[in-house]
């Protein structure tokens, strides 16, 4: 499909950088305000922030301003360079993740064959940042938190990788754009009114994926690494000011990006069923889909992020051994069985 204007390469690069920043910061801000500030408050029978702006909607700017003017403290015995680099490593992992998420037929940052594989690979970089933060703080709570985080992220990365394999088998591709197009152009038993979102057949995979995402984000009930009642704040204990802000943004931005990826893999991504408008392939999709697609994606993301936050506010924390046992003895076997059944059905039909 040809767009009406030709944008030079530098312009495209600039647009990608801007788009990436928006795609990381906007979900983070929305999730924090809508869910962390408001939904959690309502669930606890209070109003949440009300002073800054109508219904406290400007609260985020106040918070960011507060953090930016706080003193940037590095502990005297800390390993200064590693300590300062750690939050950035975590944030970079988030930015790298958003690079492969497709938002529309032409509205993507990059797309290539190994897209899904890439997403799984770069999501593990944040573990590195957390380990760096925990070790360099020269604080035993931080170190314990960092080690707990690493152990947990390693354990839950496996079910996450295995749970998406069912989708790969069904779509026959690891390209996220191809997965979206497949879901919207296929039909369920000849009926194409809804396309064929893979949640219909990969519901087990979807569940395992969302549980693993919850653990990868270290959200309650998987928040052993920052268990505030025993470890102060885990690997984030010594951070203050804008470095803490970066950790905070990365946490919620990653929640948003994982929700986006889950919607791409299981809920049909940016697409609306192609049969509604008589589209038959990527090239016949109307141009307005590049504007509608991101909106569809954001809607699905808010639903999934809402579920992540809902679970976070509802359940108590897992103990460390329960957490590990759940990953190795429940999630991994279930996702392995899911892969086997999907492969059998793929060959049989």
């Amino acid at each position: 499909m040809n767009l009406a204007v030709t944008i030079p390469y530098w312009g495209q690069s600039l647009l990608r950088v801007l788009g990436g920043t928006v795609a990381v910061l906007l979900p983070a801000g929305t999730i924090v305000y809508l869910f962390l500030f408001k939904m959690m408050s309502f669930m606890q029978s209070r109003l949440g922030p009300m002073e800054a702006g109508p219904y406290g909607s400007m609260q985020l700017f106040a918070e960011v301003g507060k953090w930016l003017q706080k003193e940037d403290i590095t502990p005297a015995r800390a390993d200064k360079r590693v300590f300062r680099a750690a939050p950035l490593v975590v944030l970079v992992s988030t930015f790298l993740l958003v690079a492969v998420v497709p938002f529309g037929p032409d509205a993507y940052f990059t797309q290539f064959d190994a897209g899904l594989f890439y997403m799984l690979a770069v999501s593990s970089i944040s573990t590195l940042g957390i380990l760096m933060a925990g070790w360099s703080s020269a604080n035993k709570y931080s170190l314990l938190g960092g080690l707990r985080a690493a152990g947990q992220l390693i354990a839950y990365e496996l079910p996450m990788v295995l749970s998406v394999l069912g989708v790969v088998i069904q779509a026959g591709s690891m390209n996220l754009q191809t997965i979206v197009i497949k879901q919207n152009s296929d039909s369920i038993f000849g009926w194409n009114g809804l396309g064929y979102p893979y949640i219909a057949t990969q519901f087990v995979g979807f569940l395992v994926f969302m549980v693993s995402v919850q653990a990868e984000l270290t959200q309650t009930p998987f928040d052993m690494p920052i268990a505030e009642s025993e470890l102060v704040s885990g690997y984030m204990t010594e951070y203050s000011g804008f470095r803490f802000l970066i950790f905070f943004i990365a946490e919620f931005a990653t929640a948003g990006v994982f929700a986006l990826i889950a919607s791409v893999l299981f809920l049909g991504g940016w697409g609306i069923p192609f049969s509604w408008f008589g589209w038959h392939s990527v090239d016949s999709i109307d141009n307005w889909m590049n504007v509608a697609g991101p909106l569809v994606m954001v809607t699905k993301m808010m639903v999934l992020a809402g579920i992540i936050m809902w679970v976070r506010f509802s359940y108590p924390r897992f103990r460390e051994d329960q957490l590990q046992r759940f990953a190795w003895k429940v999630l991994i076997p279930v996702s392995l069985i899911n892969i086997m059944l999907t492969a059998i059905f793929k060959v049989a039909f």
Binding site: R77, A121, V122, T127
Partner: protein
Amino acid sequence: MMLASDIQVAQNIGFGIIAAVMVLAAIRVVTSKNVVHAALSLIAVMAGAAAQYLLLSAEFVAVTQVLVYIGAVMVLFLFGVMLTRAKLGKDVDLDNKGAWAYGAPIALLMLGVMVYVLTKGFKDTKISVSGKGSNVGQNSLLSDKIFSSYALPFWALSFVLLAAVIGAIVLARKD
């Protein structure tokens, strides 16, 4: 025959910068007095290798490099180091005395062997990476190769991994 127009300037500059960073980081790995710093430098080397694979349009290998070496091996390595001897600051007995005396010749020998093998094996072969007919970087091609002509080595490799897993269990279990 290599023509001047065949030389990809941007790619070569990229290669040069990444290679320089990799060499510096590799030197830091062996000269650093802190074991965690050495490991972090090693990560920089691995990331550089992944970037070089990307320049060669071998994106699958590049992503595998990130997933396996940075995401798994180095994280486990750091995890182990921090769990056992997570010392901040300088570690005096980290370096072996006189390691340079035999380390440097071995490194030079490796360099010689690799340059010889690469120039002999590829000569001036060029891989076409652009255009519609090119299938460089296609995952299906790679998987077809692995599961057909390279199936036996692939299975043999998985047995090596199985042996490692069993070995780990034997070492870890005390009863």
